[in-house]
């Protein structure tokens, strides 16, 4: 039986190195500004959480094998080697203290895309057997059960029943030839069942044809979080197969950040071919409906609302204006956090941190950056569009006794839809 070894890890590091990585490592001047953009460093004050330092194993492989000087140093025996012990030490740095929020990639003065390199480093970590247990377990469950939380269709079927009962609408399942295949995340199904009800209402209201797939309902991708192509590709293939089977032209990723980047940006590259369909985040779809006048809303939220941009959606996918357009539709008293959009701060739970029980204290520490941002504008409620962010915001604010409820944007839109009868 094969096992995960250092050699496989090093080979994986090697295989991940490309021109951008060579340019990035060639350019780092050790200015330390990346630390000033990292919530894990800023809130712990521990310099070992400096983003560039987290990339040291990958850098050593690059230097030793991909540069003239490194080769000379290796010949002279001066080149430091990546060892199993080193990777064991770096496991905490690459997983527990990095939510892959990509803020460092945006502020690095020499232009290093650090998040890109963290993602690649994790490939080596998995192959070397140095991934956190929580993420391994989630990956295994995702492959074996179709959901990282081990959730099965029958649980979802119960939810569907609830939604149909309370809305008197039908939730379409396994319908071919519709416009959209809707994916969900297990966390949403369990923690925020309102989401399914909301889209059912909105799509009915806007006259959108859509369906769920019994073959694949899960949008999240534990393989992306742990950083392994093989697992990630299998999970993407399931989505692609379901979409192809139902012949849908569009797939909607739910209110989940990493699910969107996984399927929108990484997916085609994981399976090595372009999709026969397009991928949207639910917020993009809603904004398109709004723009074409298919969303008729009434009434406004009058309390002071602010918005948390999920990293994966805003900084890493360019969905920034859409949620603000939708907020303007239903909120009177909206105030943006000071640093928002592409410069927003991570909630602290992304990049697999929330699936990694060991990282709990760090996750809470990193949240303090978000907490300070929220306190600065003092909203009465927070709005967001990612189940992981939402859970983290709720838990974090509860921990600090902040008493600020968090709502999903999709639900909020659904709440303001003009009743069908009234419309006609």
């Amino acid at each position: 039986m094969s096992e995960l070894t250092l050699e496989r890890g090093l080979a994986a590091f090697r295989a991940e190195i490309d021109a951008p990585i060579a340019a990035f490592f060639s350019s780092c001047v050790h200015c330390g500004i990346c630390a000033q953009s990292c919530p894990f460093y800023l809130e712990t004050g521990d310099p070992k959480y400096t983003p560039i330092l987290k990339l040291e194993p990958l850098r050593l492989v690059w230097e030793g094998e991909f540069t003239l000087w490194g080769r000379i140093k290796r010949t002279l025996g001066l080149q430091q080697k990546v060892t199993d012990e080193m990777l064991a030490e770096w496991e905490e740095l690459l997983y527990d203290s990095c939510s892959m929020c990509g803020r460092c990639s945006l502020v690095c003065p020499v232009g290093n895309d650090l998040a890109y390199m963290i993602r690649k480093s994790r490939e080596g970590m998995v192959q070397a057997g140095h991934a956190p247990e929580g993420l391994i377990a989630a990956s295994v469950r995702a492959i074996q059960t179709g959901s990282p939380m081990g959730l099965q269709w029958k649980t979802l079927a119960v939810q569907i029943k609830h939604v149909e009962d309370s809305t008197s609408l039908t939730v379409p399942v396994d319908k071919t030839g519709v416009d959209y295949l809707v994916l969900l995340s297990s966390m949403e199904i369990i923690n925020f069942p309102e989401y399914l009800e909301a889209i059912t209402k909105i799509f009915d209201h806007a006259g959108v044809t859509w369906t769920l797939s019994t073959q694949c309902f899960e949008a999240t991708n534990a393989g992306i979080q742990i950083g392994n192509k093989d697992i990630a590709a299998q999970l993407v293939e399931r989505v692609v197969a379901a979409a192809e089977k139902l012949k849908v032209p569009n797939v909607i990723s739910p209110e989940c950040g990493h699910a969107y980047t996984a399927i929108r940006w990484e997916g085609p590259n994981l399976i090595g071919r372009p999709y026969p369909f397009r991928v949207f985040h639910i917020i993009e779809v809603l904004d398109t409906l709004r723009a074409s006048g298919r969303l008729q809303t009434e009434g406004m939220e009058s309390d002071r609302l602010s918005l948390h941009d999920p990293c994966n959606l805003a900084r890493k996918s360019g969905v920034i204006q859409q949620q603000r357009n939708l907020m303007a539709l239903v909120a009177d008293n909206f105030v943006d956090l000071k640093e928002h959009g592409k410069f927003q701060w991570c909630c602290g739970a992304g990049g697999g941190v929330s699936s990694n029980e060991r990282a709990e204290p760090l996750k809470l520490a990193a949240f303090k950056r978000k907490k300070a941002q929220i306190e600065e504008v003092a909203p009465e409620r927070m709005v967001t569009m990612c189940a992981t962010c939402r859970t983290q915001l709720e838990e974090g604010m509860e921990e600090f006794n902040m008493n600020i409820p968090v709502v999903g944007l999709t639900e909020m839109i659904a709440d303001h839809l003009v009743e069908k009868e009234a419309r006609s």
Partner: protein, 369 residues
């Protein structure tokens, strides 16, 4: 036979024999101090020293040279003073100046050496084909320069190398140095050597050095190149009247632009003043009339070693000697090839890594739980 022994009279006495009054002597000392580039406050010291000094025998040897140095000295502008100084020495041998010729001339040299052994001064102008060169490159009376130099220097008190050829090898030594020319300093190791460099040296500097030796009976303070600090202690640049323009960043860029007409700094036209140590800026040439920079031409750096090989006279000091953009390009192409090699090796490794890649399986992951 002429007595070539150093006379017993002191300089003070022989000056008074020339009919010089005490005011005249004071004036002589003031002029001497000025010539030696010593402050006027030194005049009493000079006067006291001159009273005691004695008239030395001087042997002037000319080797691979152009007689420019002798011309400079003899055509100097204030002949009375230089004359006086030269009258105070006993110039016993000098090709160009002496009346004697042939064997008589060579005899004069040998006699002076014998009569003043250990006390005579040797002045050399011109460089010398080294001991390993063909001795025939330059000979006097059928004997190589090297041989004559070593023989003459053996019992000398000191050697004064006049001109850049004698001091540093000069033009004969310029690349490719066909005669294997060497400087006096290269060859004479056991005697004090004073270098009075310049092509030619300022005449006042030649006499100034002689005056110093006459006055104090010892060598003046020297710099690392054995040049008298009094004259070579400061660079042309530091004493240049155009220095304020350098400091303000006002430069002539061609020989006929407005800057050149306004007398701005000549750095960009190749002036070597910053790295050249000489007294031109204060003593000037032609009796103080002018000097190269005042006449609008950059300093060539003629009093420095290797000045013929130090790059174009008209290239600024900051320009490298031989490197060109072509060399840079060649090296860049070479680098690209080396890099391509490294990259090819690396790419091969990547390909191998990708080809041999073992996909991570759930079973492998479960092992870790």
């Amino acid at each position: 036979m002429i007595d070539r022994k150093t006379p017993n009279k002191t300089l003070g006495e022989s000056l008074r024999d020339h009919g010089l009054s005490r005011r005249g002597f004071l004036k002589f000392c003031a002029a001497t101090a000025s010539m030696m580039a010593l402050p006027p406050g030194m005049v009493p010291v000079i006067a006291a020293a001159l009273e005691q000094a004695r008239r030395p025998s001087v042997i002037w040897l000319s080797f691979q040279e152009c007689t420019g140095c002798t011309e400079s000295l003899t055509r100097s502008h204030a002949p009375a003073l230089e004359d006086l100084i030269l009258n105070l020495i006993s110039l016993d041998y000098h090709h160009t100046l002496q009346a004697a010729a042939g064997d008589a001339a060579e005899d004069a040299r040998l006699q002076a050496m014998e009569a003043n052994t250990g006390q005579y001064l040797v002045i050399v102008d011109g460089s010398i084909p080294g001991p390993d060169s063909n001795p025939g490159f330059s000979t006097v009376a059928g004997r190589s320069n090297y041989e004559i130099l070593m023989e003459t220097v053996e019992h000398a008190a000191a050697v004064i190398a006049v001109g850049t050829c004698a001091a540093f090898g000069g033009l004969p030594q310029a690349s490719p140095n066909p005669t294997g020319a060497m400087s006096v300093m290269d060859l004479v190791k056991d005697k004090p050597v004073i270098n009075v460099s310049g092509c030619p040296p300022i005449p006042m500097v030649i006499t100034g050095v002689l005056a110093h030796y006459l006055t104090f009976g010892r060598l003046p303070e020297l710099d690392a190149y054995h040049r008298p600090l009094a004259f070579y202690g400061q660079s042309i640049h530091d004493r240049c009247y155009r220095r304020p323009f350098y400091d303000k960043g006002k430069f002539a860029e061609t020989f006929d632009d407005e800057g050149a007409k306004l007398g701005w700094c000549l750095y960009r036209l190749g002036c070597k003043g910053p790295s050249t140590y000489n007294a031109c800026a204060t003593m000037r040439w032609n009796g103080g009339v002018s000097w190269p920079i005042e006449s609008g031409h950059p300093c060539l750096g003629c009093s420095e070693p290797s000045f013929w090989d130090a790059g174009s006279f008209y290239q600024p000091l900051s320009v490298p000697l031989t490197a060109t953009s072509g060399d840079l390009l060649t090296a860049a192409v070479g680098g690209a090839v080396v890099g391509a090699g490294v990259a090819t090796l690396a790419n091969k490794q990547i390909k191998t890594a990708v080809a041999n890649r073992q996909p991570v399986t759930v079973e492998e992951l479960e092992e870790k739980l």
